[in-house]
């Protein structure tokens, strides 16, 4: 027998609202949900929301015109959690260009100039001058990024705009604009939901979630073991602690930046504490040298890795690739993404030395292979059944397996996107994520004189490729701010205002 249908309590979503793609003001009022007006609302509260608000504040929008809804307290919180788990604490350097500064829309002075000045270290300037030819790319410390974000957040009065809560959905409003349904924290509001009514909404909710390699997910579920098979993006300090107590073997899966970082940690600990850790590194795609279809599209590689300074070839943020991709549609665009895609990592001199020493010392073994399954051994260790393309089957036994593949879940795993795809008119781009315009308006979601924008990882596959990066988020923010200027929400910023605002940034005075 079906359970009796409980009437929705006042202030909650009703079946009528849930089933209707476009809501009227009366429908929301009838449900007893309190409604607040704000012209521009950004959802997420991470770095994507932050840089968009930063742009708009600098263009001249007052704090009273904008809100950010988020379940985190400060914009770098999630980023810092993920970088710390993946072995980049504040003093370590992230993989990002010196002039990609989410706290400074001009990218000048770059992080490199700032660190050189503060630490009185001219070596950084030499590295900036000679990168990437004679030196590795200069990259900023995670701590430099976070400290500067905090400074800028205070300057633009970020916290005056922050509303804590979980966004449940965004629906079109009859007459133009959108309703954003928010579940405030327990006890923060008299009703279960509140609604923001806005002309413009911006979604920057980040990665929909982590996805495990299927064989590792199966192992974790089947044996309820979440300690020995871990994802590099979740806390896994127990692995390094265990290895300090006795010699052990670790299997690493993946060939990207996170694998490099985890390897560095294992090598560093080996050196620092005199450990005997054995490392088996499984690459699904094992790169042996330069690769690519022709001489004008060939990336360097070797020892399993594909080498690239940053997440994307540098020209996606403003050069040739950006210009080309902007013109491509459908299958052609997907093909271009494929050509420049693939997991990669920077070829840093220190990492190369560590791996060389590991190969020579017989404690670092890189192999090509796909893993059929992982099983526990009678003594509580883990055996991987690895099949190489040359037919060899290996069965390495390890104490821990670290998944460094960084697979991302489908966008529909996130409720807000799922709802948008089902009711909001949004659809997928050629690589399966959210299709957006060149100015980052989500296609198919226009509502009267309002507009719905999205930036970040969910929009990968669009006319601009580098979306899930610091500079990419700023490029999106600039496109959005300029589009909003075209719609009369703010004045477009020209050279004079830009220069005077830059001086305000320099002197840390309010916008």
């Amino acid at each position: 027998m079906a359970a009796p249908r409980k009437p929705a309590e006042a202030g909650d979503l009703t079946p009528e609202l849930l089933g209707t793609p476009q809501w009227t003001d009366q429908m929301v009022a009838a449900a007893g949900i309190p409604m607040y007006d704000v012209p521009f609302l950004t959802v997420g509260g991470g770095i994507g929301s932050f840089v968009t608000l930063d742009y708009l504040r600098i263009y001249g929008v007052p704090t009273g015109q904008m809100k950010v809804v988020s379940n985190i307290d400060h914009p770098w919180q999630t980023y810092e959690f993920l970088t710390r788990c993946s072995q980049i604490p504040r003093p370590e350097r992230i993989r990002s260009d010196s002039s990609s500064r989410p706290d400074n829309i001009w990218g000048f002075p770059s992080y490199g100039l700032e660190e050189a000045w503060k630490e009185k270290n001219p070596i950084y300037l030499w590295q900036l001058l000679t990168e990437p030819i004679l030196n590795d790319y200069w990259t900023p410390r995670a701590g430099t990024v976070f400290a500067n974000l905090e400074r800028e957040a205070k300057r633009i009065r970020y916290w005056d705009m922050l509303v804590k809560g979980q966004v449940r959905m965004v629906r079109k409003r009859a007459g133009g604009g959108y309703f954003t349904v928010v579940t405030p924290p327990e006890g923060a509001a008299p009703t279960k939901r509140i609604v923001f009514r806005s002309r413009f909404v911006h979604l920057a909710i980040g990665y929909p979630g982590l996805k495990f390699l299927p064989d590792l997910q199966e192992f974790r579920t089947k044996y309820s073991d979440y300690q020995h098979v871990v994802n590099a993006y979740e806390p896994h300090e127990q692995v390094y602690e265990f290895l300090k107590t006795r010699p052990g073997t670790v299997v690493i899966r993946g060939g990207g930046i996170v694998a490099s970082r985890v390897l560095q940690r294992l090598f560093d600990d080996r050196e620092k504490y005199g450990l005997k850790t054995q490392i088996i590194h499984i690459f699904r795609t094992f790169i042996t040298g330069s690769h690519g279809p022709h001489i004008w599209a060939r990336r360097k590689g070797g020892d399993g890795w594909a080498y690239q300074g940053f997440n994307y070839p540098k020209s996606v943020w403003g050069g040739q690739l950006k210009a080309q991709m902007r013109k491509l549609e459908g299958a052609e665009r997907a093909a271009k993404y494929k050509e420049m895609g693939g997991t990669n990592t920077p070829k840093r001199r220190r990492w190369q030395e560590q791996m060389r020493a590991g190969r020579a010392g017989g404690y670092y073994h890189a192999v090509q292979g796909t893993v059929d399954r992982v099983e526990p051994t009678p003594d509580g260790r883990l055996v991987s059944y690895v099949r190489s393309s040359d037919g060899i089957i290996r069965e390495p036994v390890a104490d821990y397996i670290i998944d460094c593949t960084g697979l991302e879940a489908d966008i529909a795993e996130h409720r807000v996107f799922a709802d948008l795809l089902q009711y909001g008119g949004a659809y997928r781009n050629p690589v399966g994520r959210l299709e957006v315009e060149r100015h980052f308006e989500v296609k198919g979601t226009a509502s009267g004189d309002g507009a719905l924008y999205a930036s970040g990882s969910a929009t990968l596959g669009g006319y601009f490729p580098g979306v899930d990066t610091f500079l990419g988020l700023q490029i999106a923010a600039q496109e959005i701010a300029d589009d909003l200027a075209g719609r009369g929400f703010v004045r477009k910023m020209g050279p004079l205002r830009s220069t005077s605002q830059w001086f305000k940034w320099v002197f840390n005075s309010p916008v």
Binding site: I105, W106, G107, F108, K300, Q308, G318, L321, P495
Partner: protein, 145 residues
């Protein structure tokens, strides 16, 4: 800034017309190796800038071609500085040989002082300060228009 072909050319011409002109006006009164009247030096200096601009379009085509061999399609900071050498040498020999008839002969120390100061100033501006007034410039491959 990672340039496109049209962006390269526009940035070069824009910087020559702004930074180049300003630096020429500032440096000409104190360049070594000449006692020509300041007015003549200014004319010569500005004509040199024009020659750097016109020859530069050819140079940029070559740089653009070379850039295609780079996976990232980027142009490292140091390249922007080091190209001073081939460009300066070509222009110097063209002037010496009289191939550019509308520019009067220049003593080598005068030429190289002016050329280097202008080049390094333009390179410095392109690597940072240019982004202060022009926030869209770096995302458009160096296009000014």
């Amino acid at each position: 800034m990672v340039p496109t072909l049209i962006g390269r050319i526009q940035t070069r011409l824009f910087l020559l017309a702004t930074v180049g002109v300003v630096m020429t006006l500032l440096i000409m009164p104190i360049v070594p190796g000449t006692d020509a009247p300041l007015g003549d030096l200014y004319v010569t200096g500005l004509l040199v800038l024009a020659a750097v601009g016109i020859l530069g379009i050819g140079w940029e085509l070559i740089y653009h071609l070379l850039m295609q061999f780079r996976w990232e399609k980027d142009w490292p900071t140091s390249f922007g500085l080091l190209t001073l050498v081939p460009e300066g040498l070509l222009l110097y020999f063209l002037l010496r040989s009289g191939a550019i008839g509308f520019i009067d002969p220049i003593p080598s120390s005068t030429f190289w002082t002016h050329f280097t100061v202008v080049w390094v100033s333009m390179w410095l501006v392109a690597n940072g300060p240019m982004r202060v007034p022009f926030i869209r410039w770096r995302f458009r491959g160096g296009r000014v228009l």
